[in-house]
């Protein structure tokens, strides 16, 4: 174990996993409560075009994907405000168009495309030093934003009118949430890939919801589960020599199954204890 932690690629993987584990978990709370799972999926898939632009122009693909996705998030927000189309339709259009553009751009490069596989399925063990610096700095900035603006983001999630009456600017905070979420998703793509990144937003908070009786406990449980899943999945994938992103997601699924079982057991026990005597 100690030897494993001395390996530079493992150190980078762990730091990225731990930092992103907190950020994605926290954002996942707002994503699930606001029913934004499709938004997350859409922006993550459309990010492929951003990464492809970086590969073609020899700019960092992570940086170009970040800028491109944040732009798309702002575009989705603007279209939601200005058009009569439903949010689902707008995201669906951006999702498929971005993905298609990414495939076309990548096809312009000749030969085998290992980057495409890396972006589709992620590879936490292949994170480079400059990627790690970008991930840590941006994650800390996002975390600072979430922690300082938690009350406003939570109010917006609860009810727009309530947020307005409490002095929150709902439109501004919705835009900020979209942009910040897009940035976090792109960083998550390096670990889990375009296809699986949404799982880390949704699985920890869904498991935590089954164990929580207040918003405070939901936040705590979500972060604890997310970190357990990230670190646990990373070690399991290393020892079993399996793809890290997929193993992290499967670890999250296993934790969710346990939480679901525990919740069902406790509910049944509670029902039995409150059932009037003499009734089956």
């Amino acid at each position: 174990m100690i030897e494993l932690l001395q390996l530079p690629f493992m150190q980078r993987a762990l730091i990225a996993g731990v930092v992103l584990g907190v950020v994605l978990a926290y954002l996942g709370i707002f994503v699930t409560l606001r029913k934004m799972a499709f938004f997350s999926d859409g922006v993550a898939h459309a990010a492929l075009a951003g990464a492809a632009i970086g590969l073609l122009t020899r700019v960092s693909p992570l940086l170009s994907a970040l800028i491109f996705s944040m732009f798309l998030a702002a575009l989705i927000y603007w279209l939601e405000k200005k058009s009569s189309l439903s949010s689902d339709s707008i995201i669906g259009i951006i999702f498929t168009s971005g993905m298609a553009l990414g495939i076309v751009l990548l096809s312009l490069r000749r030969g085998y495309q290992p980057e495409l596989i890396g972006y589709l399925f992620g590879n936490i063990l292949a994170i480079r030093r400059q990627d790690l610096i970008l991930i840590v700095v941006l994650s800390l900035l996002i975390l600072a934003f979430i922690v300082t603006q938690k009350r406003k983001l939570t109010l917006l999630t609860l009810d727009r009118e309530m947020a307005h009456m409490a002095g929150v600017h709902p439109d501004l905070y919705q835009l900020l949430l979209y942009v910040v979420l897009a940035a976090a998703l792109v960083m998550g793509i390096r670990i889990l890939g375009i296809i699986l990144v949404s799982a880390v937003l949704i699985l920890p908070v869904s498991s935590a919801r089954l164990l929580s009786r207040s918003f405070k406990s939901l936040i705590l449980w979500t972060i604890v589960i997310s970190e357990t899943v990230m670190i646990g999945g990373l070690f399991i994938s290393y020892y079993l020599n399996l793809p890290s992103g997929a193993v992290i997601v499967l670890t999250g699924s296993a934790v969710f199954s346990l939480a679901f079982g525990a919740n069902a057991f406790l509910r049944r026990k509670k029902m039995k204890s409150t059932r009037p005597a003499g009734r089956p």
Binding site: T157, L158, E161
Partner: protein, 239 residues
């Protein structure tokens, strides 16, 4: 002296549909003002426009200022509080979240006064409709607003609670000087408890002191002939 609330040529459009058409009125004194009208007459739209929750044409001033600058002095209880029922938020967390200065609030006392003591740790998603409505009202009162806007706030409150509710509203107004602007369908309660009335049917039908403005003709204009409304002359009561 500036009027408490001034609404001038207020129009609200949703696409091609006009929900409110050039409505103007002023509220000068700390009174209980009822807003009545049939379904779809623009009552909720009026409240939302006043509070800056929807875009509008025209001019709205509260205490002579733009609404955004006086929001902390306003309370609002919506008709429907459409939140995600799975939101794991306790009543105490809800109040702390929505209050600007939660540490200065007499939280337990206010819930106790609203008959909601002991609900602090209950999840808001687990409250009944009536309980939730009472928490929202208690919560709005906690802010000690100068104007309290209530949009059919009694929905979900039983008959016994209804009278208590209107008494509380009256006490807030008479003893604490809170102006109440309330949308309601309970004509008899409005007749008994409100000082002034605003009768809407997309435009302003009538506005004035309740006893003189709430006439049989006005009620007919609002609700038509099919509604059996017994107004016993101007001095009597309505039901």
């Amino acid at each position: 002296m500036e009027p408490l609330l001034e609404v001038k040529d207020l129009s609200v459009h949703f696409g091609n549909f006009t929900a409110l058409d050039r409505v103007s009125f002023t509220i000068e004194q700390q009174e209980i003002i009822a807003v009545i009208g049939p379904n779809g007459s623009g009552k909720t739209t009026l409240l939302k426009a006043i509070l800056g929750l929807i875009p509008y044409d025209g001019e709205i001033k509260i205490f002579g200022k733009k609404v955004a600058t006086v929001l902390p002095q306003l309370g609002y209880v919506p008709q429907r509080f459409a939140f995600e029922k799975n939101f794991p938020l306790t009543v105490e967390e809800f109040v702390n979240l929505t209050c600007r200065k939660p540490d200065k609030l007499p939280f337990g006392g206010a819930l106790h006064a609203a008959g909601m003591a002991g609900l602090e740790d209950k999840l808001i998603g687990e409250l009944s409709g009536g309980q939730l409505q009472r928490v929202l009202i208690a919560h709005a009162m906690l802010h000690q607003p100068r104007i309290l806007f209530l949009d059919e706030a009694t929905s979900g409150i039983d008959m016994e609670g209804l009278s208590d509710f209107y008494s509380t509203i009256q006490r807030l107004n008479r003893e604490h000087g809170v102006t109440i602007v309330m949308v309601s369908h309970e004509i008899s309660m409005i007749y008994k408890f409100s000082d002034r009335i605003i009768c809407l049917n997309r435009d302003l039908i009538s506005h004035g002191e309740t006893k003189s403005a709430l006439t049989r003709d006005v009620l007919k204009k609002l609700y038509g002939d099919n509604v059996d409304l017994k107004v016993h002359s101007h001095e009597g009561s309505a039901s």
